[in-house]
Symmetry: C3
Subunit: 675 residues, 3 copies
């Protein structure tokens, strides 16, 4: 349980009463009660308010807020305020300011603005975290520490450059090893002194934000920056733990945010929390996948939905209002996928600056007679009624989809073969096929224990890290089904090619050799032609982006290309390996093909859909003490019917018993309890 003191689905969010007067805060209390708010995240961006110079600290206003919330019995997610430094600090100690990708020293402004290797930042962030912990260590309402906010952004300053060299010395030991790992004999890059190494940005090796001459250097710089920010987190966490070892510590993550290796981060966090901001046209399966990724960061441990908007956002190009019922629906979607909290940014909408058009529980009008507030209050009531029923329930999946940040970095940094290749999209294509069939699926790291799964899918597993291939082989030998795709097995962890034929270290288990990789021009496609009917797969499908031209070695050919000079060569193969089998999908297929492929694999492995539902009716399951909680969620704007199965089951939200043909309202949710 996230915190034993507070055994229900937390309901609340970011709250900044310091931006308002006391009377407003009193009104907030009244409305929080109406809405069933029971947790508030406070002190997220108050460093300047707390500390007006190097030596003065003022926590009295925070004391007041905490006391007032405590009086209402609202729990506290207490933030450390280090997500934005004060203006005076930037003025006096410019080392806290970042140097950007273009090599420009920044001035004071924005947030998430501190150089992670700034001595000044580290010094004062540590002191602040310590003072907060010491001051509030015994406060009973504090149920979570919230360190900084949405860590991210890279810095390219001299301090970072120096620390990068230190980081590299630790990683490589010698320049010889480094020169080899980066293949510096290419383009006259041999380094003879650590000091010759510079940060890779638009002034040195990179351009366009994500293109580089040397993938090895740029990959390491991403690792180093991710680690540098993680060091900042760990420094604060340790300071907090020194005073309050029993209060869990988190920081709010951001789903598929590209810059940080969250799998590495999650190891240092007690609980994963994240901010979910889909836009109106984000596929529902994409949101589901992001929740599962967050759940997968700590191998299935329930996570916190730290932020979502109750109404509109402000920073998207087109900020549509969440349609009636959608806030509730998406809140339950989070819970269905493993969240044990439902929290908002923000509880009261701000009056000025760039988030003033970001929705809130309490809107600018200030009273409770808004659609948004009513929906919040209704949900608050429901969550209170749910109590701790679902808390800590786990999701049990037999299918896993892999995702890896370093793989993504390496793919994005590489020059060629096609700018149309988007790693996250390829991962989503497979996830979406599983989602549409209501197959419970985990999103996992490349380090995850595979023995739990029957089917593991690793789309575009371009980078194969040490030991990975062995683990895949063991998994398949022991009966597992492993699927990978075109452009996999190409490089090692330094983006050096594994010689001897693609897919390199995976060649043995896949039983194929990829001789060529052909990139299709925009608008061009090839065909996947089944050699014979296989389950629902028959005839031909389209594919594109990249086409590996492969040879089956030990593998069996299930489908061939239908066009171009490699017409008739394999595009889908199956390799028996020990007790299991591996599938190689040599191009990026259309959705119909993937539906059929997934259906076949699940059929083969006896993995069943949770339910059969019409389009847009999502199903996800959490299980606790042998009881299954089946979340049925209708994303359609119309009522839908579906077959709930023969067994009788209770809908936790309505108390009704459901079985057989069931009807779910537009944007409705059911939580079917099955013993």
């Amino acid at each position: 349980m996230i915190n034993e003191k507070f055994p229900k689905i937390w309901y609340g969010g970011d709250y900044n009463p310091e931006q308002w007067d006391k009377a407003t805060m009193e009104e907030d209390m009244r409305m929080f009660n109406l809405a069933g708010i029971d947790v508030a995240t406070v002190n997220v961006f108050s460093w300047a308010k707390i500390q007006r110079d190097e030596v003065s600290y003022d926590f009295t206003w925070l004391d007041d807020i905490i006391e007032r919330l405590t009086k209402e019995n609202i729990y506290l997610c207490l933030a450390t305020s280090t997500g934005a430094h004060p203006a005076w600090m930037a003025k006096k100690y410019p080392d806290v300011l970042r140097v950007d990708y273009e090599g420009r020293k920044r001035k004071f402004g924005g947030r998430h603005n501190s150089c992670p290797n700034s001595p000044t930042y580290r010094k004062y962030a540590k002191i602040l975290a310590g003072k907060l912990a010491e001051r509030y260590k015994d406060h009973p309402q504090i149920v979570m520490w919230h360190v900084s906010n949405e860590y991210g952004g890279y810095c390219y300053c001299d301090n970072c450059e120096k620390q990068f060299r230190v980081w590299l010395k630790e990683r490589y030991g010698t320049l010889e090893a480094l020169n080899k790992a980066w293949n510096t004999s290419f383009w006259s890059h041999t380094f003879y002194d650590w000091d010759e190494i510079v940060a890779p940005n638009a002034l040195s090796e990179e351009w366009s934000g994500n293109r580089t001459n040397f993938q090895g250097i740029s990959l390491d710089y991403r690792r180093f920056q991710s680690d540098s920010l993680l060091e900042c987190f760990k420094m604060e966490r340790d300071e907090l733990k020194r005073w309050t070892p029993d209060i869990p510590v988190t920081t709010n993550l951001m789903g598929f945010y590209p810059e940080l290796d969250y799998f590495k981060w999650a190891k240092e966090m007690d609980v994963v929390s994240w901010d979910n901001y889909p836009s109106m046209d984000t596929p529902f399966s994409f949101t589901a996948m992001a929740h599962n990724l967050m759940r997968g960061l700590k191998s299935g441990q329930p996570f916190m939905l730290m932020e979502q908007t109750p109404g509109v956002q402000n920073w998207q190009p087109y900020n549509s209002a969440k349609r009636p019922g959608v806030m509730r629906l998406w809140s339950y979607q989070a819970v269905a996928h493993g969240a044990d909290t439902v929290m908002f940014f923000q509880l009261r909408r701000s009056v000025g600056a760039c988030e003033k058009y970001h929705g809130a529980v309490i809107e600018h009008v200030g009273h409770e007679h808004t659609r948004v507030f009513r929906e919040c209050a209704e949900l608050g009531k429901e969550l209170q009624q749910l109590g701790d029923t679902i808390l800590d329930a786990r999701s049990e999946a037999k299918v896993a989809v892999m995702y890896d940040w370093e793989n993504r970095w390496a793919l994005e940094l590489s020059s060629g073969p096609s700018i149309a290749l988007n790693y996250v999209n390829e991962v989503h294509k497979y996830y979406d096929a599983l989602y549409k069939q209501n197959i419970q699926t985990d999103m996992i790291s490349v380090e995850e224990d595979l023995s739990k799964y029957k089917v593991v899918i690793a789309p575009v597993m371009y980078m194969v890290k040490p030991g990975f291939a062995e683990r895949v082989e063991r998994f398949v030998a022991q009966g597992g089904t492993f699927v990978t795709t075109f452009f996999s097995g190409i490089v090692n962890e330094n983006d050096l090619v594994t010689l001897g034929g693609y897919p390199g270290e995976l060649r043995n288990v896949m039983g194929i050799w990829a001789e060529e990789i052909d990139a299709l021009l925009p608008g061009h496609q090839n065909e996947i032609v089944l050699r014979q009917d296989w389950g629902g797969l028959r005839g031909s499908y389209s594919c594109g982006i990249l086409c590996d031209v492969i040879h089956a070695e030990t593998a069996e050919v299930l489908a061939e290309y239908g066009a171009d000079y490699y017409k008739g060569t394999p595009v889908l193969t199956r390799n028996k390996f020990g007790n299991g089998q591996s599938y190689y999908v040599a191009s990026s297929p259309d959705a119909d093909f993937l539906q059929g492929l997934i259906a076949n694999l699940c059929e083969e492995q006896g993995v069943k859909p949770l339910l059969n539902t019409p389009d847009g009716v999502e199903v996800a399951e959490r299980v606790k003490n042998g009881t299954s909680y089946l979340f049925v969620m209708n994303h359609n704007a119309e009522e839908m019917t579906f077959d709930a199965g023969a067994s009788r089951q209770r809908d936790l939200l309505t108390g009704k018993t459901i079985s057989g043909q069931a009807t779910i309202p537009a944007r409705g949710v059911m939580i079917l309890e099955r013993a």
Copy 2:
């Protein structure tokens, strides 16, 4: 009258004989006579020629030019040459160079290149203006001072940053007030010392040229930069006035140019002048609106058309030639909307550098046997014949459309709700509907006296400044019709939201409450469904971009949304308020709806079209001493007929009497005199 000495429509333009030899100038004189040129703007970009170092000034070449022009009896619009500093000044005194939005110190180059807060620039600009005024103060041909040129561009240098702090101290008095106005408790921005404040650009709060974290800071910086450049203008103007108090002073503006608050500028100018550069596909109504805005800067006072091209431009993506008759047509369009001059950039086309492909009265071929020259000469003759007839005539409108630069800045700087919202476009939509019905319309500031008008339309009046709401209420209470739209009444002059329900301070007069603001995704629309027929409005129309979800409070609902979750809620309301009424248009409607709406409002208020004409035949009126001059302008490439009315009226251009069904040639113009 612009200048009593010169009582006709001035005809001429920018002239740079210093770029040529004497023989060419002699030839110019011959051709100016052929063309009827009687005014020349000289000395616009000659600072380097005049001043070769800190102490040397050479005006002898300018003496020669002035004398030569005087000999031809050509009047002079004498510029001060401060629109571009000399290279030596940039080299010796780098403080004259700007720092750009990216934080880069610029080097010598271009024009409009001086930091407005540079001590060096201010010092030498002032000296130069003074020397010019002293030298030419008694010259009888000088009818106008032309200060600098097309002021614009922001600077972000250290001098500007320091002056910004001074400007802020004057505006806010205390840091407490500033912190409150900017809502700096958001994102840890509290300032404890004025020196902590930095200029907002790509290195601090802004990005993409026009996006910001803190609207308050960025809004003030725009005000400050507009003021800084205005200070430069005022400094030169005062210096000129010291010697020649009776010669009017102007600087050439640029219509809807975004960076300067021209309403504030116009107060410091004797006469408004501007440069009109529509492209071939600019809507004619947009040009008309820009003329009316320039006329509105000084509440209807006639203005100068300082620049237009006789033929082609050079700086647009596609520089089409003005079709035969179009230069004349557009010249009269300017006059019809309030111009008392018709002037060109340029009289002779330059031989090199970036404006060599900008058309001129005298083209590169150098002789008078060009289409462009012939058209100029014909117009010159016509304008001589018109004499002072139209001079000083005013336009009398009963309908006004509001436009406000600070409102525009705030809208553009805000993050959300939709990037599809374009303030100028929304203003133009309403203007266009009026234009198409030949309703005489003023473009006015938010400070204008409203009592002159029957109908005032303020599209997207997002920012409501102190006293504005009261003035609107008084206007409506006294019988006026006020129209505003979605996303109005949201913030105060610091972009802080007016709490208590949108449209904030306008809620009382509009009688509605806007609960939500929904942004439509690209390609999406909603519908406006009339509750019952209203004049020509019946059935349904499309609308888009933003949809306010509103509640009628005291207002009556005239039309409802036809789709989405707010189907059936009001989209068009009318509120009776005192003796008048106010209309709220909750979304951005299609053109047909606006035509109908405008027709109804004018009908209700007894505002009549000037004439009924077919598409593309524009009508505008100027009135002098009780005589009406009705300009009829055919923008079509074909002859058109229209009903000129029963009364007999004389076309000033042909001398013919016109009444009943009249025929106007392709791109033709009539000026119908009606007693």
Copy 3:
């Protein structure tokens, strides 16, 4: 002959064994033999490997490579390694680092990274070239010096700025002359001291990479930077020649690369070599044109195909594999157009960094059993069989198309009349029409001797340099046919307009006056209407981009515009001048019109197609000692038939005798020998 020592079509390419171990190199030798590789370019990017500090040089590894290759009797194209400086040099001597277009000092990274005016770079590059020449001067296998690599990129550092002033002093002598050439009286730019002149980049006169306020300044800076890099080449060349006067020296060029004036460069090179990287959708005629341009750099002298990929590229957006047969086809296309070498980048594919996905003869799999290797080996065998047959053969063209880098710069730098105008595209339109009719065509400079040709086409000859017009007049007077187009004859070599009527200095020979230049909006077109049938030209054709509105003076009108206000005015004219004639094409016509025009001109001049072939079957000829070698190349993916003519001729590749209707396989090549 490129080098008498090595009398066959060289076959090999870039080879970097220093990136690999010895065992790999041994394997390479085996495979080179299999592939018929007989030349290797080595030492291209090894500066850091050779020189680890200011005083230490290590050539032993290079000795080893050279000896090993020599043992296999492989010839050497020995590079000087100065295309990328070592990291230590950048660290210790920052003057080697460039300042970029944005004014940012770069750090170490990439390649082609040295400031051409850096004293440090020049010093050490010269020493290195000298040491290499001295060490290997007597090595018998060295057949070519390859200086640096793909020179390019401009620098804007202080050293360059200072050298620019020196360069300007040499060019203009006095500031008076410079001020006049740049028309600095425009926009107050008069320079009173050379030191006031700054480099034109984004901080001064330019923006968007290629837009400028002062064309004169920017044009001279391009000339200066092209010259500065050329000085670097010459410095190395001279050092090499000091030791090995008989070994030819080249550097690899890049076709239509915009930044360097290759016509000027070629004068300093013994042999032209270039890197040919078409993408899958590059028109075949564009590649042919680029080959001809490279051939034209030294007036027809055979050139080297220094680089092409055997398989895929890596740096294009979509890197498609070369289809089977295409590598061979494109190799012969190069030879057909004048190449005497067929060389690859690269012989072995690299294991890491940004070119790891660039194809190679030896792919990552490492063995010879790949399609790419097999195709390479087959071609290697064919080229050995061809021996020296074709070597040194020339192409004899009676038609020439002009191309000029300075003209291109001036066109691109000019502001107006249309961003749709693309000089290279316009040149290609004419070349393509010739190509499609199998008319042998030279690409020539504006300085080329015209007397060799019957037809000379100079599309958009905007800049007319001193003496050019006289040479055109002489050419036409003596019977030649000269074609030019809209927007020609406008400026002199400083981009100053030639006054008195366009096309300026060409007006006399063209017999027309262009009064106006109209730019069409996107999507708009005009028509070319023939006054009467002329050969295959009849009826009307479309045209666009720009329309000159012209008057025929001495010229005869062949076609008129079909629309707009200049309907009925001339769009195609012919002027008899002496014994010849000149054609003016006043707009940019469609492909059908150009086909007809070219056919008529060739017909008039008795210029015959080499053969008549169906679409996609290209024909080019080389001639040696009176024997013609006709290359027939089928770019289609299907077999084609064509009429090979009555005479019997031998296909050098198959030994078969060909005549009458002949069949050529998909992507097949024939070399028909005709005595």
